[in-house]
């Protein structure tokens, strides 16, 4: 295995994280990416179902149900989908960090000081 560490250049790169001194294995990078794609597929399915599904394609059918004074399909199209969108972004932000840590590719800078302290002792 040839150890070519690719680092791209940029004027606006994010600051270093505590993993920057390490080399991520190809397997970790691939594993992370697969897990990320799986999570994206799940969340984007929800995204599609609440907006295009409940708000448009199924709106007429859902309108037979009443929800806090709204017809349900109408509520999804003008209120509900937007709340779900907000939730999806925060769920992704939270869950992807767990996956990143599992594969050691997170951009956490919290441990940098701790790691330095350990190195010094």
């Amino acid at each position: 295995m040839s150890e070519q560490h690719y680092h791209h250049q940029g004027e606006n790169l994010p600051p270093p994280s505590h993993h920057d001194q390490q080399v991520i294995t190809d397997a970790a990078a691939k594993g992370y990416w697969r897990a990320n794609l799986r999570l994206l597929a799940q969340l984007l399915t929800v995204w599609f179902v609440v907006s295009f599904g409940f708000g448009i394609l199924l709106a007429d059918w859902l309108d037979q149900f009443s929800f806090f004074g709204f017809k349900l399909g109408f509520w999804f199209a003008q209120q509900g989908a937007i709340y779900v969108f907000v939730a999806l972004i925060f769920i992704y932000a939270r869950r992807i960090v767990v996956i990143e840590r599992r594969f050691g590719v997170d951009d956490d800078d919290r441990d940098v000081d701790a790691a330095n302290d350990q190195g010094a002792s």
């Binding site: 560490h5 994010p14 600051p15 080399v23 984007l44 972004i89 992704y92 050691g104 997170d106």
Partner: protein
């Protein structure tokens, strides 16, 4: 103090604030100018993104449009918020990791080609200028309505303000003024909305009042919900039910998709995520941005329903002489007009255009009831009342009998919404010229200081061009602002998405894809809007998709073309594939490859 004085005071104070921020946050380097130094807190960036995003159209027109089209208006609500999910999940974190200044930077490097960079610059300028021209006009219109100055004077004042903070402060100045502008605009939007919700339903939260019971004359629950009542009232007058759409399902689908993917592909929104420190911040920041946007976007449909109900209640079968004072006030501005077709002195409101041509043309005379007389021919419809959709937000404070300071606040909010979006657009235009065209393509040897100077000059020129568009609006501007989304969806979004999620798509594929998407979408829109507007109906549309939604089809064609051409040509070089691997992981560590 009169409302007029209060309006001058509020708008004047907000301008002093923006200029103060501009002076405080002068940009010292290209990094300050392009990405505000790259250290903006995710919540601050979220707020700035919300102001950047919500234009005069969101603030003034959106609730009005929904008010008149009911369920069909969902395309804007879904489209202009759902795009943020795509941004946060598919684009923003990777572009942040890429760590450069502009959107064409990414396309130029990922597709290892100056041609790709230039094509991206062309798409960007095309999208941004159509959008900014509408904003400058919006500034002028708000000024003319609230401050009683000429539209053109309003445009010049707006230009001067944007000039101050965009040219001096660049992204740094824009970021912090946008935060101030968000606070002004959301407060100005929510205060009247809360009052009108209280007035109609007794519930102070518009999102809940939207589904609540209408209060009767005694202030007690009437047992009928807002939407049931609205459906009933409108159907009695010959309109379709508010909660039922009239657009075909495929067209609703396509328009929503074009607006969503277009939102995710708009350069002035994307570049905001270059300003936060880290990859994880970019994701969070998109979430905060959507929270701040959702506050307005979930209120707007409630305001739309309340205003429509209130308007019908006030106008229908009311003698002109008994109409409330706001009716006369807005008649003066030409946003409302009444033509007494049956000479009974009573206003009849129903479905159908009241006037021919549809927009009122006033004579200088007054009728026997004191109404402004019109040159328009009466139509066959029994409807006697013309109502401009913009009135729904602008007249809300008066309809709800709110004090003068609320009206002044709405004026300041409208100006804030238009200025913040205009500044964001002007910045991406100027940075694409100074950075992508000059530094990266034509004059690679210029120093950082020189590049900064060019960026300022480009911003100054862009402000003036945008101002000219505002003063001499080309006939097409009003019609094409919504199409900026279609063009962004069909050109930039697929190129960025494929650049991150595919290692196989190469420069030949990406360039072909962008050109196919842009040219197809542009031609379709131009054909139905300018060349043959008389054919612009669902019978002639491709697959029943209107020009508003065609960007979705353009996007699919872009992706298909990019994939097919890439498969037939050589894969991207190894270092570009490594670049893709590198931007996919959030940490800065290198990946060990086996080549």
């Amino acid at each position: 103090m009169t409302t007029q004085m209060l309006t001058y005071l509020f708008v004047g104070l907000s301008f002093a604030l923006y200029i103060g921020i501009a002076v405080w946050s002068r940009a010292g380097s290209t990094k300050d100018f392009y990405v505000a130094g790259g250290g903006v807190h995710p919540v601050v960036n979220g707020m700035a993104t919300a102001a950047d995003w919500m234009s005069a159209a969101s603030f003034i027109s959106m609730a009005g449009i929904i008010s008149f089209v009911g369920f069909d208006g969902s395309v804007y609500l879904l489209g202009w918020t759902g795009g943020y999910v795509l941004l946060a999940l598919l684009l923003a974190p990777y572009l942040r990791k890429f760590g450069r200044f502009t959107v064409p930077d990414f396309i130029g490097e990922r597709y290892y080609s100056k041609t790709a960079r230039i094509v991206a610059v062309v798409c960007l300028i095309f999208v941004s200028f159509t959008y900014v021209a509408g904003q400058m006009r919006g500034v002028g219109i708000v000024f003319s309505r609230f401050l009683e100055v000429e539209v053109n004077t309003g445009v010049v004042i707006g230009m001067a303000i944007v000039f101050m903070y965009a040219v001096l402060g660049g992204m740094k100045g824009i970021t912090y003024t946008q935060v101030a502008q968000y606070c002004v605009l959301i407060f100005a939007y929510m205060v009247p909305a809360i009052f009108i919700s209280l007035m109609i339903t007794g519930n102070p939260i518009p999102q809940l009042g939207f589904g609540a019971e209408v209060l009767d004359a005694k202030g007690l629950g009437s047992g009928v919900s807002v939407l049931e009542k609205l459906d009933g009232v409108l159907m009695d007058l010959g309109f379709g039910a508010y909660t039922q759409g009239s657009k075909s399902t495929i067209d609703m689908f396509a328009i929503t998709a074009a607006l969503m993917f277009g939102t995710a592909g708009l350069p002035h929104v994307l570049v905001r995520f270059f300003t936060v420190p880290k990859v994880s911040d970019a994701r969070l920041s998109a979430g905060y941005a959507l929270v701040f946007i959702a506050i307005l976007y979930t209120t707007a449909p409630a305001v739309a329903a309340f205003a429509r109900l209130n308007l019908v209640d006030t106008v229908q079968d009311t003698a002109y002489a008994d109409a409330p004072a706001w009716f006369g006030n807005w008649e003066k501005t030409g946003l409302i007009a009444w033509q007494d077709k049956n000479n009974d002195g009573v206003m009849q409101y129903s479905a159908g255009a009241a006037l021919s041509p549809t927009k009122p043309i006033f004579t200088d005379q007054k009728g026997i009831h004191g109404e402004r007389l019109l040159k328009n021919e009466p139509t066959a419809s029994a409807n006697e009342v013309y109502i401009d959709r913009d009135i729904m937000v602008l007249a809300n404070p008066e309809i709800a009998n709110l004090p003068g300071w609320v009206i002044a606040l709405v004026a300041a909010g409208g100006v804030a919404a238009a200025l913040s979006t205009a500044a964001g657009l002007l910045l991406v235009i100027s940075s694409s010229i100074s950075h992508d065209l000059l530094k990266q393509t034509l004059m690679p040897n210029i120093s950082d200081k020189q590049e900064l100077l060019f960026a300022r000059i480009a911003a100054a020129v862009a402000v003036c061009v945008a101002g000219l568009f505002g003063i001499y609006p080309p006939a097409f501007v009003a019609q094409v602002v919504a199409f900026a989304f279609g063009l962004a969806a069909a050109s930039l979004f697929p190129a960025i998405l494929l650049g991150i999620f595919s290692k196989r798509v190469n420069k030949e594929g990406a360039i072909t894809g962008m050109l196919v998407g842009l040219i197809f979408t542009f031609s379709y829109i131009a054909y139905f809007k300018f060349y043959a507007p008389e054919l612009n109906n669902s019978v002639n549309w491709l697959l029943g998709i209107s020009p508003e939604g065609i960007g979705f089809l353009g996007m699919l064609m872009n992706i298909a073309a990019a994939l097919v051409v890439s498969m037939m040509t050589a894969p991207p070089p190894t270092d570009v594939q490594d670049l893709v691997d590198d931007i996919r992981i959030p940490t800065g560590a290198g990946v060990a490859h086996e080549h």
